[in-house]
Subunit: 242 residues, 2 copies
């Protein structure tokens, strides 16, 4: 049974300002909730789920608080078009420490679509990229659509939001900027370390960041589309760089 | 000025059944509308746009019928969260003839997310893939979200919906199935022809299709994500195959 206060609180977490105030976010669906419980112990504050799901999962989930809800209640708190058994309220993760030496790091300039942001985090996780640094104006990693699109990778990849221009100026490793013109990625020897910079969906990388790049890299076009989706481009570059 | 009949007709094209009945769909935004007008002459039935846009574009658009609308009217007919100057009603394209010899063809089994479907068509266009064959239960290419995600590539790439099992049985070229286990795509010599089969977002390729594949191919995983987004996977495979 869901109280009115709980209902209002969970719904409020759909908004960035309230997520920031409460330092909490929501995650939905068995796969994502389980991954967060397992990978970031202590972060899940409470779980709202159908009684059947609770009965099947309570045993392994430690002493997390479970609240049984009806399908109608889950419907009201869910951000999904098809609510999926369970919704967790989760503490925002600690701000990660990023260390770029001997690693490939992804840097995102103003990625705005939540689906793209989540898919990029998921793709980074597939290729073993442990850290993603985002400009402050990028889509919020705790937006429910981002969390959903990460498919659980949000629990494993470190994501930092910062003043990207300032941050990148302080880095010692080579900076590769994904661009419509540049060196064919297939001609670049897999680097042991470096920052791969990906730009906004329509505007690309802002000039102030682009001029800090050591090398512009590109995915060779053979057809007529003007550009590639930002998440697809990230995946293609990572498949060549890792 | 928009009539009530026009308003109702345009809104109805948001539904697949009515698109099928009317053999028409809607496309929005200057870029996509221009590309369809240029690449598929005769397909655009009528254009509804802000007066300013009409004044700037009427000269090059031939004898297409333009109806000026106010921002409030555009808002009511648009499927976008931020309506973008122009909406066109377009005749569905002729069913394409697909010829697989000496070409790379993409085949999609039950891709359900409209954003993925559109992004895959856009990615195919980037890599010069001219044709995509979809199982009948895949997301409709004329769904407004698909049209939007193609960013205009819908006007260039041939897309066929068919009984994929039956269609693939009749093909003579090699069939590569994207799978979580298989030969590393980097070890495959770029083929001059072949069909690349991509599966559903959560279930992958159905067994009846998978058994028709000549080779299973995979994108090597270095991290912990369970899977890749279908559009990202398509992009990575095409970047290695073309």
């Amino acid at each position: 049974m869901l109280s009115k206060t709980q209902l209002k609180y969970i719904q409020s977490l759909g908004h960035k300002k309230l997520r920031d105030d409460e330092k909490a976010f929501i995650a939905e669906g068995p796969k994502i909730v389980k991954e967060i419980i397992n990978e970031v112990p202590g972060s899940v504050i409470s779980v709202f789920a159908l009684e059947e799901w609770i009965n099947e999962n309570r045993s392994w989930a430690g002493n997390i608080k479970f609240t049984p809800v009806t399908e109608a209640e889950l419907d009201r708190i869910s951000q999904l078009s098809a609510p999926n058994n369970v919704l967790a309220v989760v503490k925002k993760f600690n701000e990660p420490v990023i260390e770029t030496t001997n690693k490939i790091t992804l840097a995102l300039d103003t990625i705005q679509d939540p689906g793209n942001m989540g898919t990029i985090i998921r793709t980074a996780d597939w290729f073993g990229i442990e850290q993603v640094v985002c400009s402050d104006d990028s889509a919020d990693m705790y937006n429910p659509k981002v969390v959903q699109a990460t498919m659980g990778s949000i629990a494993r990849v470190k994501v930092l939001y910062t003043d990207l221009e300032q941050w990148i100026s302080g880095q010692q490793v080579k900076i590769y900027a994904a661009s419509l013109e540049g060196k064919d990625i297939r001609e670049i020897k897999k680097p042991a370390e470096g920052i791969i910079l990906i730009g906004n969906e329509s505007k690309g990388i802002r000039p102030q960041l682009l001029q800090k790049a050591d090398e512009r890299i590109t995915i060779m076009k053979k057809g007529k589309a003007e550009s590639l989706n930002a998440a697809v481009a990230s995946g293609i570059i990572l498949s060549h760089f890792t």
